[in-house]
């Protein structure tokens, strides 16, 4: 177990400051011609019509979305790592996000189009993904080996990816609409996205709060958890349900964004140690930080064009994945 380097309040306050700064950066920086100074003026009540529009209608909305999605993915990552006792577990890597987006692609292919329907379908898809993860972890020789679990997840993800591409091949006309469900983005989401995804986020977080104590007990072993009066199996199911709701919400809102659920718990563990009671809260602040940073980068790299944010998170996440795997003292959670 990594030694805690910061107290929880310290870590929380540092992260909160970072988050605030990143929010401001997200409002001031973009791929457009409206630079930092005009943006700042608009933010402080300037009257330039274009700058006001870009800051309040475009950047503000995607900043809010990044907060919501980052929070959901950060929390989901910590929960999934705790329940699989695997520092590599990540909704994107284990196929939970792929399950969600495949479900949505399938639904669109069958004729669905309402955004609110996407939410339910995505949650259902990620739940199926979660259940598969649970089944795999019960398999002898796979569940207790972090790398093998990720390999199983990668196989599952690529299978779902192949199925999604198959659907795209059948119906290439909707390819533009579907591309979003292959790699996520925060830009240009319908304005009501926040309205319908907020309840999903709150529901998922509520569920997470219910399981956090039994989950911490489970980290000490099944017998200890049972001795403390918790149901190990019920705890696992509850946790996976929370993960499914969180990932489903995030995917319906912004498409599949990989690696946030890996990067965030990794940083959180380094800051405050591996106890989920310490990392969960912190990861809810770290998630939005990482996603906002990735989003700001995605706007600045190829101006006047933009990269989907999922591309940037993959570039940041892949090295961390390798770092964790290469670390010989792979922490068992």
């Amino acid at each position: 177990m990594l030694a805690a380097r910061l107290s929880v309040p310290q870590a929380l306050s540092y992260t909160a400051v970072c988050l605030l700064l990143l929010c401001v950066a997200s409002l001031l920086l973009g791929a457009g011609d409206i630079g930092i100074l005009p943006s700042l003026q608009a933010l402080l009540g300037g009257s330039d019509e274009d700058a006001r529009f870009i800051v309040f209608e475009l950047r503000w909305v995607r900043t809010e979305l990044a907060l919501l999605v980052g929070l959901a993915l950060g929390a989901a990552g910590v929960l999934l790592q705790a329940v699989t006792r695997n520092p590599l577990a990540e909704p994107g890597l284990l196929g939970v996000s792929a399950g969600a987006s495949f479900a949505v692609v399938l639904a669109i292919n069958l004729g669905a189009s309402a955004a609110s329907l996407h939410l339910g379908v995505a949650m259902l898809g990620s739940l199926v993904g979660c259940v598969l993860v649970l089944l795999v972890t019960r398999m002898r020789g796979v569940g207790d080996d972090p790398v093998r679990l990720v390999l199983a997840g990668a196989a599952f993800s690529s299978m779902l990816g192949a199925l999604s591409s198959l659907l795209l091949l059948w119906d290439q006309r909707t390819a533009d609409e579907m591309r979003f469900w292959v790699i996520g983005a925060l830009a240009g989401r319908p304005l009501d996205t926040l309205d319908w995804s907020l309840p999903g986020l709150l529901g998922g977080l509520l569920m997470a709060l219910l399981v956090v104590r039994p989950l911490a007990a489970l980290a000490l072993g099944e017998r200890v958890a049972s001795g403390l009066g918790h149901h190990p199996q019920l705890t696992r199911l509850g946790t996976l349900l929370a993960v499914a709701i969180l990932v489903g919400t995030a995917t319906a809102a912004a498409g599949p964004i990989a690696f946030i659920g890996l990067i965030v718990p990794y940083i959180a563990r380094r800051l405050v140690g591996s106890d989920i009671r310490r990392t969960l809260g912190l990861s809810m602040l770290l998630g939005p930080c990482v996603l906002l940073l990735a989003d700001v980068i995605s706007r600045l790299l190829v101006r006047p064009y933009e990269l989907p944010v999922g591309v940037v998170t993959a570039f940041v996440g892949a090295p961390i994945l390798i770092a964790v795997v290469r670390n010989h003292r792979l922490p068992t959670l």
Binding site: G30, A31, G32, D33, I34, D50, F53, I54, E57, L58, R59, W170, D171, Q172, R173, T174, A175, D176, E177, R179, F180, A185, A187, G188, R189, P190, L191, R299, V302, R303, P304, Y305, E306, P308
Partner: protein
């Protein structure tokens, strides 16, 4: 007899025999193609048209190909050619022509698109003379069209068709307001892409005296831009925006676009100057029939 006069007589004899033989082999011709000269004789009976432009050319010259490819982004012949093409065998998609299916049709001429790979060319030309037009889709579309016409032995008809288009655009040009800026855009919810103005449609619009939007003109190397940031959406603005959609229901694409406030505040949108058009014509085909359709669309949008 001097050597010189001997040579003269021989030359005369050869010329005479050539002249006599000419009517018999009148349709024997050699075409310049991207992968070297191609010999074609007679009028092809079983043409396989690989690509929308090749199909467009053949149909516009009154030739019914026996096989063609599913168009880009679709799973069938492009909509605008469907009735004219009638029953036609699909031999794969633009991305992946199916060689076995082509062989089964026993073609005597293959019209390919200019981006056919050398590898595929080598295999196809074992089955039948294969014509790959020189250049690329950025060159004058008439040149590609004429290459196909020549391959089909219909050079004159081809030139007539092109003259018809030129006449019609010259006539339309007189009636259109001059110097209007136009852009052709494909809508993605995360941000649109703008089509290069140097392709087929851009050339036609230019002939009509319409001015390409700045960003479209800057796409000199690529068929379309990358996904534009919504913050820069004003760069797709023009006096008229043609929204090319691969969806059969163009209205839905427009509705989607209208959900985005960055789109609705463009002056073209405020003025009601957004026209949805068939992306299969406007962003991926070329030819006589496509040109007529583009001119129809422009006439209807700007004059009605």
């Amino acid at each position: 007899m001097s050597i010189r006069s001997h040579l003269q007589r021989t030359a005369a004899a050869i010329t005479t025999s050539l002249l006599l033989a000419l009517p018999l082999h009148a349709s024997e011709r050699t075409l310049d193609s991207a992968y070297g000269p191609v010999k074609i004789s007679g009028t092809a009976q079983r043409v396989v048209a690989l690509g929308d432009s090749a199909l467009d050319a053949a149909l516009s010259l009154g030739i019914q190909p026996v096989g063609t490819l599913a168009s880009r982004g679709g799973d069938d012949v492009p909509d605008y050619l469907k009735t004219t093409a009638g029953k036609i065998t699909l031999v794969g998609s633009v991305r992946e022509p199916n060689l076995e299916a082509i062989l089964r049709l026993q073609p005597d001429l293959v019209l390919a698109s200019s981006d056919l790979s050398r590898d595929l060319y080598a295999k196809l030309s074992l089955m039948a003379p294969t014509v790959v037009p020189t250049g690329n889709s950025f060159q004058d579309w008439r040149k590609t069209y004429l290459t196909y016409a020549q391959a089909l032995g219909k050079q004159e008809e081809g030139q007539q068709r092109l003259a018809e288009i030129d006449k019609r655009s010259a006539e339309l040009r007189h009636r259109l307001p001059q110097g209007q800026a136009v852009s052709v855009v494909r809508w993605n919810p995360q941000g649109p892409v703008i089509m290069s103005s140097h392709l087929f449609v851009g050339q036609l619009l230019n002939d009509l005296g319409l001015r390409a939007n700045e960003l479209a003109a800057a796409q000199a190397q690529k068929p379309h831009s990358d996904v534009l940031s919504l913050e820069n959406l004003s760069r797709i603005n023009a006096d008229w925006i043609f929204l090319a959609t691969l969806n059969p229901d163009g209205r839905k694409a427009l509705e989607d676009a209208r959900k985005q406030p960055a789109f609705t505040r463009l002056s073209a949108v405020v003025d009601g100057h957004v026209v949805t058009v068939d992306g299969q014509i406007w962003s991926s085909s070329s030819g006589y029939l496509a040109a007529q359709q583009v001119l129809d669309d422009v006439e209807k949008a700007l004059l009605d």
